[in-house]
Amino acid sequence: EPEVTQTPSHQVTQMGQEVILRCVPISNHLYFYWYRQILGQKVEFLVSFYNNEISEKSEIFDDQFSVERPDGSNFTLKIRSTKLEDSAMYFCASSEGQGARNTQYFGPGTRLTVL
């Protein structure tokens, strides 16, 4: 069964450093998403992406964040200058399209630790 994959599974970085989290969505999916879950808190939406453009973003997704689909398979989340409060589990998701095909399938997550 096709699945969303994410790399790395765990990333440790120093405050102020840039990080890039990588995701490979399910191959025939057209919509891509990033969510995060700070330890002990609920899963929060960051951004959705379609047709090489951001279609929706939350208040969390400020200028420090960017997303990109650099090729036909990868979808990345870049944090330009990490802060301690960026420490969280980051989940990538993808969906096929409208209606019943809108189910978002999640990857296993990348745990980001900012020191």
Binding site: K42, Y50, F91, S95, T103, G107, P108
Partner: protein
């Protein structure tokens, strides 16, 4: 605006007894509703979804949920709990349009004792 409330932060059951995880939602239009499960150190797995078809939805591992519009509820049930069901369960509301954000509840931790 959409929101979802999971009424219990923690539910404990004995193996073999029924499971009930409660969820209420708020939406200004007909929503899509989901239950996702997260096992320790694992990602989010879709258990089941409601997208305006049958109100009783069957999912994986014997779970099911009933959409009740009059009560704005989407409770998750299972007739007989198994030890492997111990996990965090999230009730989630989303729009019917692709590309829209999912709104997660705070989660319910299910503990299963032998």
């Amino acid at each position: 605006a959409q929101s979802v409330t999971q009424l219990d932060s923690h539910v404990s059951v004995s193996e073999g007894t029924p499971v009930l995880l409660r969820c209420n939602y708020s939406s200004s239009y007909s929503p899509s509703l989901f239950w996702y499960v997260q096992h320790p150190n694992k990602g989010l797995q879709l258990l089941l979804k409601y997208t305006s078809a049958a109100t009783l939805v069957k999912g994986i591992n014997g779970f099911e949920a009933e959409f009740k519009k009059s009560e704005t509820s989407f409770h998750l049930t299972k007739p007989s709990a198994h030890m492997s069901d111990a996990a965090e369960y999230f009730c989630v509301v989303g729009g019917n349009q692709a590309g829209t954000a999912l709104i997660f509840g705070k989660g319910t931790t299910l503990s299963v004792s032998s």
